[in-house]
């Protein structure tokens, strides 16, 4: 894995480009969202270090040619009752991974709702990846690879079957996202903003989000 633990920012000195992206994780609870991220960020599965207390917010840096991509990974609560809060999380996100469990058809159905919602409500350029997790449990498979693949193609999503347990495709899916993300000035957090945030718009959406909705 490229750049593990090397999340340092070369201060000011431009060593290639540094892009920072916000990535949200969506999916039913218990499909292994956090296991996937922990595998990607810490290389761990079930053998957690003492230092890792939370897997809700993590960052990881990957190197891509001359660009350093820093992922800021925001986990969301997957329970149905918290579904309506999701827009507050994916607001301003440049990427999303929608996770389902290949041994559970319902989670795939939920994943489709997430994709639809993202396409309708998230920022238009958001890169969406579909991850069929728990690929190591292929003998209990309920969601066929071809079915998911066809769905992903239809909706132009990145698609991979992953396994947090065996680490299969875990880094690959993040790398694929990194490749697809636009590495323009806008994505660069180290660059100063061109202009102040348009608060007329921003403020309303945020206050509407947390208070009036």
């Amino acid at each position: 894995m490229a750049g593990r633990g090397g999340a340092q920012w070369p201060n000011g000195a431009a060593q290639g480009k540094i892009c920072q992206f916000k990535l949200v994780l969506l999916g039913e609870s218990a499909v292994g969202k956090s296991s996937l991220v922990l595998r990607f960020v810490k290389g761990q599965f079930h053998e957690y270090q003492e230092s890792t207390i939370g897997a809700a917010f993590l960052t990881q840096t990957v190197c891509l040619d001359d660009t350093t991509v820093k992922f800021e990974i925001w986990d969301t609560a997957g329970q149905e009752r918290y579904h309506s809060l999701a827009p507050m999380y994916y607001r301003g996100a440049q990427a999303a991974i929608v996770v389902y469990d290949i041994t559970n058809q319902d989670t795939f159905g939920r994943a489709k709702t997430w994709v639809k919602e993202l396409q309708r409500q998230a920022s238009p350029n958001i890169v969406i990846a579909l991850a069929g997790n728990k690929a190591d449990l292929a003998n209990k498979r309920m969601v066929e690879y071809d079915e998911a693949q066809a769905y992903a193609e239809e909706n132009s999503l990145l698609f991979m079957e992953t396994s947090a347990k065996t680490a299969m495709n875990v880094n690959d899916i993040f790398l694929a996202i990194a490749k697809k993300l636009p590495k323009s000035e806008q994505g660069q957090a180290s660059q100063p903003r061109q202009r102040g945030v348009d608060l007329n718009e921003q403020n309303q959406s945020s206050s509407g989000g947390c208070c009036k909705s």
Partner: protein, 483 residues
Amino acid sequence: MMSRRSSKKGFHVDESDLMCKNGCGFYGNPGWQGYCSKCWRDYQKAKQVQPKTEQIASNRSKRLSQMGSGETAPSFSKFEERKKQQSEKRKNTVKSIFNRSSKESSPSNTPPKKDPVAKRVSVESQQVGGEFAEFLKKLRKTTALDISKQVRAFIEKIQVFADSPVEELSEMVQDFYQIITDRINTLPVYKGMDQNTIDTLMDFIEKYILTRIYRIVFCPVTTTDEEDDLAIQNRIRSLHWITREQIDCKIYENDAESSQLLETAITDIIQMDSKRAPQDKLASIVQCCNHIFELLRKSTDGPASADDFLPALIYVVLKANPPLLQSNIQYITRFANPTRLMSGEAGYFFTNLCCVVSFIQNISAESLDLTQKDFDKYMSGEAVPHTSHNAYMCDGLRLMYQNLSTLTELRQRHEKLMAEALQLQQDMVEFKDSFKNEIDTVLERNPWTLRPRKSKADIDAENSDTELLPSPLKPEVLHPVGQ
């Protein structure tokens, strides 16, 4: 907020001014130009209905150019005069509040401060001001001078605009962050500063400005923040019955350490209100969340995910019922440097807090998997779900419950003892009865009758046998030798 109102009250002298200017019969408030709260809002609304959008747009561009150049271009009529005076004054008496930093360069130019603005500086502001000045000392003098000049001018300006709608104030502050960033990137005075120093500088500017203008911008009268605060507070109060199970919360306080952590998390979130700068408020949120993660580590295997974290945060907020929650959230949204909120750990946790508030406001029977009937019952206080055994409580209450359960156990034991004693008594009675019965039956079976003796046994009677016996010994009387 209250203090702001009262300080404004100090200005008014005339008794008749007490009533609302509109003559509606309610008391007016000098802070609202003599209107009562209702008429004041109407008045404000009426004022805002006017071509507001264009006005804002033009105001903003003007403000941008003004602040950028540090000069006053006469702007929209309303504030023109006041502002001119202000800038005039500023030019004549550029007394930096960071005098300490500029002292060395111009020792003669520091007359004793008699500025009315400076006089009102609070303890918090003085402290932050001191830290800021310390930091500025480390920079080049020209840089420090420019920064302090900008900041000072901006604070004065905000104080002039104090009565504007909060959206405009927010815009002014956000514009100011941008202006400073632009200056740092373009002006030669700022050349050669590394990113860390710039970040710290921006941090200090944000902290200092907002600490200074806190009273103006936190929960301003022109907004409904105060009502929203009360609404959420009452809402949380009416939801006191929510149990962990109903929101999938997986924190337990089986031991002293866990309940200690939970209490710390609750204190953290309550403390947010006592902080002034947005980053300090955010730090309180982050601290609270970290304590929640520590708490979750005990009940979940492996690092906690958002599935566990969000419910736990909801639970903590419900139990804490933090003061002025909406005001604080609004304040942070309006005035914090937006980079803080859109990214980073603090941004994530802040988003979570906003989600929690949204969830609490929209909580329904459905979101708790209850029937509407049960939900209404719980809300009206008719019924209480019976899972209080693991509900959060304070030390005293916990001790009480502990004692109560001990007493219950004691009572049970006592009752058992009583029952056993009664049983014993019963057994004894039964034993006695059965014993008696048995004896009776035996007696019945073997009745014994007193038969008359066959021969009379008269011990003292004379009979022939006694004659065969030797005669009884007779006491021998011994005479003393001497007689």
